[in-house]
């Protein structure tokens, strides 16, 4: 796993997407959490119906686990 990550980091260092090529990457459809506030209730419901968590940020408060 460590070697794979090291290889990925090395590869990442060699790759450059120039600023003028970033228009599509900046498009809202290419953002992983562009609608984070809108999606929060769904993520909250999913977290409380499953035995696992992770990958969606750390902030939050309260149980709300009915």
């Amino acid at each position: 796993m460590g070697k794979i990550l090291l290889l990925c980091f090395s590869l990442a260092g060699c790759i450059t997407v120039a600023p003028q090529q970033r228009a599509i990457l900046a498009d809202p459809t290419m953002q992983f959490d562009a609608e984070g506030k809108h999606e929060a209730p769904l993520r909250h419901a999913i977290d409380n119906r499953e035995g696992s968590m992770g990958g969606t940020g750390v902030s939050g408060g309260g149980c709300g686990c009915n």
Binding site: V17, A18, T29, H38, V58, G61, G62
Partner: protein
């Protein structure tokens, strides 16, 4: 409590003064409903939220918000398995109880932004009839290699408190513990009520990478340690003949998850595909895998529509059993811990949904003379849960489907 209110008031005043002098200000509100009605139980949750954000200077964001959960329904109060029910065919050994709760949460956050870095700190305080939560979080983010690589580091600490019933000191065995009847008297000097602490530490580190002009990825590791009372204080589990006891789960739990996400833009159809795969493991021996896919397309300048699908599968906790009777004579139980929580049983689930986002940004001037942009979003999702072992007295859970709908509005001034 007083400190929490003081902190929230300070943050609100700071946010208000920042809002008044802001170059950019944003107002968000969302209304969400959740409903499910599996065998013998049902749950309805209405969740409104309001957030404001101000950017008085280009290097500073100040945010404040409030959200609530208005809960009503019925949940399992006494859980028994098939074996025990079979030996008591004349009785209904499973019982349910009505649930009414109101969660209020206030939050504030400050973000300092540089050209390639940002530092964020925030605090949230929430109350329920039977739960109090103080949560603090910090986050650091940096862009390197001409914005092609992003690293993010986050930490959150919760100091929570849950209400419980005072148990008899004459017999300290958990097999004699009685479940909390209701939340009346919680967080007061009621001699039949007590509180127990729950500490939650959550760590997250993520690496985002742009690989080509149309392909990017994100790899995230999340770790969490929970210490304290983690059972449902209202739920009892039948352990043996004539014996039921309050749910008793371990007080420590360490959890880990790795999530890989990929976003790929398809130029030919002007749409993006986002894929996510997550692996999870915890010290209660729950292992799970999640696969999620989203397809989002822009229609014209203002509208985006998205369809999603999600599959999830988990194993049960090491102490999970659908029936805890049959342990050491005369009364058992079978094992040191017992739970009636279906989320700790082995199951798989599916989810499907759609979302639209409509954004109005005038090419020149402002909407109605004040708005820089206006965004309206709506979504609906349905999920289904297939429990492999969980039953209510031997009756499998059927129609375990949930629906959730959300409408949100964001206005930038």
């Amino acid at each position: 409590m007083q400190l929490a209110v003081f902190l929230l008031i300070e943050l609100a005043l700071f946010a208000w003064s920042a809002l008044a002098s802001a170059q950019v200000a944003e107002f968000d509100t969302a209304q969400s409903v959740f409903y499910e009605a599996p065998t013998r139980t049902h749950m309805f949750v209405y969740s409104p939220s309001v957030d404001v954000q101000a950017s008085p200077w280009s290097w500073l964001d100040v945010r404040g918000g409030w959200e609530a959960d208005v809960v009503s329904g019925a949940s399992v109060a006494t859980k028994a398995g098939a074996t025990y029910q079979a030996t008591h065919p004349a009785a209904d050994v499973v019982t349910t109880a009505s649930v009414h709760d109101l969660r209020n949460l206030g939050r504030g956050e400050v973000a300092l932004k540089g050209e390639t870095t940002s530092l964020t700190g925030g605090y949230a305080y929430s109350t329920e009839h039977d739960y109090r939560s103080n949560s603090m979080h910090v986050n650091a983010r940096t862009d390197v290699l001409q914005h092609n690589t992003q690293f993010e580091l986050s930490y959150a600490r919760n100091f929570d408190t849950i209400c419980n019933r005072v148990q008899s000191s004459a017999d300290p065995s958990p097999t004699r513990w009685i479940a909390l009847e209701d939340s009346v008297g919680c967080f007061t000097s009621d001699p039949l009520r007590t509180t127990q602490p729950i500490g939650i530490d959550t760590y997250e580190v993520s690496w985002g990478q742009s690989w080509t002009p149309v392909l990017e990825s994100q790899l995230t590791y999340t770790g969490q340690v929970i210490q304290g009372f983690q059972s449902d204080p209202y739920r009892s589990v039948v352990l043996g003949e004539g014996l039921k006891a309050q749910e008793n789960e371990p007080t420590e739990r360490a959890r880990e998850a790795v999530t890989a996400r990929l976003a790929w833009y398809l130029r030919s159809i002007k749409a993006a595909v986002r894929l996510s795969v997550r692996g999870y493991y915890d010290t209660w021996a729950i292992e799970s895998g999640t696969v999620e896919g989203e397809f989002e397309k822009s229609i014209g300048e203002s509208l985006r529509v998205m369809a999603r699908g999600r599959l999830y599968k988990q194993t049960g906790a090491v102490f999970w059993s659908d029936d805890y009777t049959g342990g050491l004579p005369p009364l058992g139980p079978r094992g040191q811990y017992w739970t009636g929580d279906r989320e700790l049983s082995p199951f798989w689930s599916w989810l499907t949904g759609v979302r639209f986002v409509w954004t109005l940004t005038p090419s020149n001037g402002r909407l109605l003379g004040v708005l820089e942009s206006l965004k309206l979003a709506g979504s609906g999702s349905m999920s289904g849960y297939i429990y492999e072992q969980y039953t209510l007295g031997g009756v499998p859970i059927s129609n375990a489907r949930a629906i959730i709908g959300t409408l949100s509005l964001a206005a930038v001034f």
